[in-house]
Subunit: 923 residues, 2 copies
Amino acid sequence: MVRYVYDFAEGGREMAGLLGGKGANLAEMTRMGLPVPPGFVISTEACRAYLATGAEPEGLAAEVARHLAAVEESAGRTLGRPDDPLLLSVRSGARFSMPGMMETILNVGLTDGSVHGLARVSGSERFAWDSYRRLLQMFGATVMGVPASRFEEALGALKERRGARDDLGLDAEDLAGLAGVFKDLIRRETGEEFPQDPAEQLRRAVLAVFESWNGERARLYRRREHIPDDLGTAVTVQRMVFGNLGADSGSGVAFTRDPATGRPGVYGDYLPDAQGEDVVSGIRNAVPLADLERLDATSYGRLLEIMETLERHYRDLCDIEFTVERGELWMLQTRVGKRTAEAAFAIADALVREGLIDRREALARVGGEGLARLMFPRFDADRTGEPLAHGVPASPGAAVGAAVFDSAEAARRAAAGERVVLVRQETNPDDLPGMVAAQAVLTSRGGKTSHAAVVARGMGKVCVCGAEELVVDTAARRFTAPDGTVVEEGRVVSVDGSSGAVYLGAAPLVPSEVMRRLEGGVDGAAEAAEEGGLVAAVTRALEQADSVRRLEVRANADTPEDAARARRFGAQGIGLCRTEHMFLGERRQLVERMILACTPGDREQALDALLPLQTDDFAGILEAMDGLPVTIRLLDPPLHEFLPDRVELSVRVATAEARGERPEQRDLELLAAVDRMHEENPMMGLRGVRLGLAVPGLVAMQVRAVASAVVARVRAGGDPRAEIMVPLVGDVEELRLVKAEVERVLAEVGEESGVTVDCPVGTMIELPRAALTAGPIAEEAAFFSFGTNDLTQTTWGFSRDDVEAEFFPGYIDRGVFAASPFETLDEEGVGRLVRIAVEEGRRARPDLQIGVCGEHGGDPASVHFFHAAGLDYVSCSPFRVPVARLEAGRAALSHGHGGHGGDGDGKDADGRDADGGGGGGGR
Amino acid sequence: MVRYVYDFAEGGREMAGLLGGKGANLAEMTRMGLPVPPGFVISTEACRAYLATGAEPEGLAAEVARHLAAVEESAGRTLGRPDDPLLLSVRSGARFSMPGMMETILNVGLTDGSVHGLARVSGSERFAWDSYRRLLQMFGATVMGVPASRFEEALGALKERRGARDDLGLDAEDLAGLAGVFKDLIRRETGEEFPQDPAEQLRRAVLAVFESWNGERARLYRRREHIPDDLGTAVTVQRMVFGNLGADSGSGVAFTRDPATGRPGVYGDYLPDAQGEDVVSGIRNAVPLADLERLDATSYGRLLEIMETLERHYRDLCDIEFTVERGELWMLQTRVGKRTAEAAFAIADALVREGLIDRREALARVGGEGLARLMFPRFDADRTGEPLAHGVPASPGAAVGAAVFDSAEAARRAAAGERVVLVRQETNPDDLPGMVAAQAVLTSRGGKTSHAAVVARGMGKVCVCGAEELVVDTAARRFTAPDGTVVEEGRVVSVDGSSGAVYLGAAPLVPSEVMRRLEGGVDGAAEAAEEGGLVAAVTRALEQADSVRRLEVRANADTPEDAARARRFGAQGIGLCRTEHMFLGERRQLVERMILACTPGDREQALDALLPLQTDDFAGILEAMDGLPVTIRLLDPPLHEFLPDRVELSVRVATAEARGERPEQRDLELLAAVDRMHEENPMMGLRGVRLGLAVPGLVAMQVRAVASAVVARVRAGGDPRAEIMVPLVGDVEELRLVKAEVERVLAEVGEESGVTVDCPVGTMIELPRAALTAGPIAEEAAFFSFGTNDLTQTTWGFSRDDVEAEFFPGYIDRGVFAASPFETLDEEGVGRLVRIAVEEGRRARPDLQIGVCGEHGGDPASVHFFHAAGLDYVSCSPFRVPVARLEAGRAALSHGHGGHGGDGDGKDADGRDADGGGGGGGR
């Protein structure tokens, strides 16, 4: 015989799966001897049985009756007794919090008869009728299916007749009349009477809560939050207690520490003569919790005791709801409280120092996204005005500077010492110098993975993109806000990359202490850990992560400066050194010469001119990363991306001709080349390894530059560890051909210099076919590095730049995505390819080194996946290195040390999310 | 003890894996009692052992000695005996023919001593010295590693000194001197003497043949032909016989039937006083084989007997090499002969009628590519002149017409009854009317899967693309050939889509009888089968294929005309009805209106105007396919593809402005829209299901049109079987959302009309992610249709239009591809996704219908793969339907009836390729 109902005294917090979060925590408090109104929980199993068959599970009614009898006995009253009714609350409560998604019915047990008994016992006619009309309203809508708006309309009409501003303007007589109106409404809409049998009320209320699990809203919510559809909800049935029975009653919420800063102390709100709903809804102004001491010292003292007991018991910040009913304190809910990032680190560290948890547990309670937020300066929230506009918060932090509208102006002003914000409709590689020079980037187009967003995150620059309310006129060098404000070049604006807000003028800033210490390098940070406070808490968490993680953390860096910074942040090498950035700026002319070369000799000359420049680039990076691996990727983008824009050129040439002028010869040559090389889909064009195989001398030049840099570093007494990575391989044969050329050049340089140059040659895995043929490819590759950006694009068949802004928001709304697959790895599709490649690559070559160098390498949930999939390292932008270190440590704790194929969802075993908030039941 | 050597008398043709093709067939003829010079075969196993260890396998020398003794005994002479030497040929012979890839050494056994014996015995000093210098040359190059060019240079120098035009101008003394020069050369180059021990010559020759297996050329050839690297070659050692011993000697090649037409009779060439090499190399003019009767009636009679014996024994066309040595006939090689497509069908049919093979075997011997060639008219090869240029033969057949340079001119002239050839640099969707009007399409850019090629193949039009030698000047309406010929508009050209040749003027045409009969429909074809000849042979092969195949064959067709034609070709439904073609032409204005619509009302109006047009489209197609399934795909391409070109518009607007004119208002509006909707990578942009979810009303309009067409057909007494297919699905949720809308509209139309409209809703599987999540997707899909074109693009990460012309030829050259993966399915990568999707889709929904509608559906090798992978149907362009029917039948024979996961390589169990040629050993 299956058992469906559990008395609070029979459960505990470990039973959240069966009793729901709310029920499990009520049971826990009951077990602890805290004052919880008696009640019981109908399990999720009963819900699942009901939803599967559509019928009330056999035996459920009898079980409920038995448990109800126990509640009646403890209360000394029976459900709905006319002269002194026991009333019940019937609430949903699932394994995972789904706030507002399912139903609650209060005051179950009231009838036409017992409403009078309640009036007598409570001494308040108004209270009794208000309670009754609330039951009618909730029951009518939730259980009997009357549109909720009909009740609202009737209430509204009554208030209008009485000239009442709110419910308090209605007296007992009004509410009694309203109860009659509601009953008529129910009869008219359903052809049925409101049930006057309290047991039937209870039965139907329970089933209605079950059914709310499958409501449209709830399903959509679950889809978005990736909560399985087959869990079901539990139903908590509990004696009603009333905080609205006069001045000696009230309701409140409390936190055992400050959820904003983590500092210890009494935090919360109290509302005299009110129910819990009233506190949450903010109808009336609550008073600080400390005021309860003055109002009811006994209850206050008892509450403080309970709070301490709860925090020691839960070993964490607790979030509490309570009611005082005529001087008697009742606990209505508790759960592990949500908190800010700052509080998460501070509380975890404090609890360790208080001996409540160990460092491993503390690490599980903080998260990478929180750490990232702490690394940026922020605006002082109390002192900013109204924002001019809002965009997509694409790269966090706060920045202030003069608005500038192109790269040259940004560079010019920055060189003169001015702080600037680069404002563009959207950015492209030509804006890079401006982005480097700017404090922040603001665009009116593009989503979180637009060029601006991706590059800004890579640089650790603040970015707000897709601020569509702004009309950016780059030609006129100004933008216009929706309120008509025109911001001309040079005017100071403030950009909040964490919230997406854009302000006029300089909003006051608070610098990040955490960043200052992390930038000081790992050693400085260790020293800082002695000092206490937030910085110490963060440092200790990182130390703990480093001591347990299996994943190495490398950085994506293309310059010696980035490499050095990454190293200060704790990077253990460079996982991706892109070489295309080395083809821009002043070198663009050489690259153009190479592309336009008519003869092999011309091309060779251009390549020869590039060689020493590339050699210097590599030498600098190898020096900054001395002793650590530096993975250098051969040139990846299609060559035409280094030429001017086709539309612009065409227009320039045509315009000159229309004016009867002769177009510039260079423009004509460039246009011919651009036309010839034009690709409909450059992302899928002649790039990566294809380029290396198609353009004679290109691979050789790059490899020679790497090898020469290695030789130079060895001669300077360094320990260079260059690795050469071939991009966009789809078939082992491509890799074999390029590798042969690489090895030929390495041997040549070795022979010429007398220094043995030994660079492992590996490949990106960024095409589905590479993952699907990883076995053969591994036979030729010393290492794999997943390029999860491109792998996501090709697996889904969408181009990041083109589609993200256009349809991702809709897809997230409709539950197709939980998050952009460019931010958090799509485990089902892309992740499956990763697992295939890891398994088959390692089978073919057991010592294969495997990492990831896509942006996912710095995403918390994705880091957990990569740990579980068995990768050796993740590589991410320098600023995400501390985040990745932290999450790699957390992953090792929650998934174990090996690649055991865990779920990698960035949540620990309790479903706590990676940001250190979350917790038990829903409110 | 492993055995490595087999006497000819011990082997047979079934042992080709061990003895190589040549050796196995020599053994077979020996076993049949035919006159084969005695010899033995050193097995591929010996080769593998040698290549694995680098040492001569243990026991091999003793085995060779034993078998050599047997040959000596039968010859009554010993190897290299000074006064009458036994000489040997040492030849390679692998499992699969690798013509010219490996080594042969003749006259092994000659030495400074035995050359005089040979002169005496043969009665010819010159013959003896020529034989010796040939041995020195072959042995020196192949075994001892002297560059072959050094021997050629020495020979050339001697001829020059003697004023000889060819070898025949050198006398015995010259050749004796040359032998001395060659020996000196060997000594100088290698520091070693040419070995005078015949046994050592033999041993080293055998090892050299083994080593030639791993020569660079041989490895590349195998990579291209997908022949495994670990097979190894066998070595055939055989007594030399000489056809160059005078007028009573000679060599010849013969076919047991005409390999061009399949007609019975004596076909071949004979060259008196010559070795086999001389016949093949064509140094002297051979005489027709029939002349041998006059020269040597005995040998001729014996040869005809042997040919008949061989054909009955092999039950197939045999290709024979023979030598007459002083009146004695010797068989030197036989194998199943290569033949034209016409001969393949005719011979297979004839052999059935002669009772030698059954119809199943006959089916295995013909192929789809051959059938395709027979369906096109061809030029009379004897009467065409020199071509103007060559391009890529992209769509077979022969066409003659006036060159025209744009779509409008093509349509105008065609309407006036003129035949035209559309000449463009490359084509795009706007050229469709011109392509429809033209006999052929000729472009100067793009590869086999360029727009021109793909669309032309789909229409069954002749196409030569990428004729880069031609300079096409569309503005001047002319093109220029490499020889300076300028072809102005209106001048007649001839285009050969099978060879890629382009001729000036009207080359004489031979129409296709096969096509005429197939176009008459299946019934007409059945009738035709009674008449005998090629048409009958083709018809019987198709009937046989239809009777055994498991795969259904559908067609890709977008118009009622195409549908009707496909049905005549035997299509069992439409597997892909694209709807984007219905948005072109005159309707483009409505589509533009829809795209530019500023309000939902405007858009709705445009959609409403499209609705009746779409309804008519669908009704026509459903009528043509009455009673058969018609799979209609919702709109797939990005909407901006229906707008004008961005560069063109930008230039037009800028030019007008530069001239101080006001640009057209419509151009400005269009440009704004085109700029706004511009995508960097439209192939991966807002298209397919994403478009359907993003543009309100679009899916509803299309579904309403389908449903209305179904209703109209039902009312007209028809049996419409429309299916609705959702393109570019990557996640089941996308399909679920669109399906809900489809079902809503179907129900609406059903309710409005009173006719139940029941259209299965399925999805394309054309993204890696769709294949990887096929299980969940199958729960929402009634059918899967693999879009292998897009699946290939995304799996490999290359865009067909962009990369094929640029790097595919190089990739095929270097062995990365055996064929373009857009022509023949890439089984390792794309095929793996297909298998995953089939397996997991069927597991989730056992009755899931699965087909393919990419171009691969009409490719022979791919059809075999789809059969083996367990698909239900293939769908291809109407003109490929007979090809697919034939190959589906062949696949069922060679892979069995189920999807057992065979290799699907389009070859039968004997390695015969799908074109009906191929066969045993290499020459």
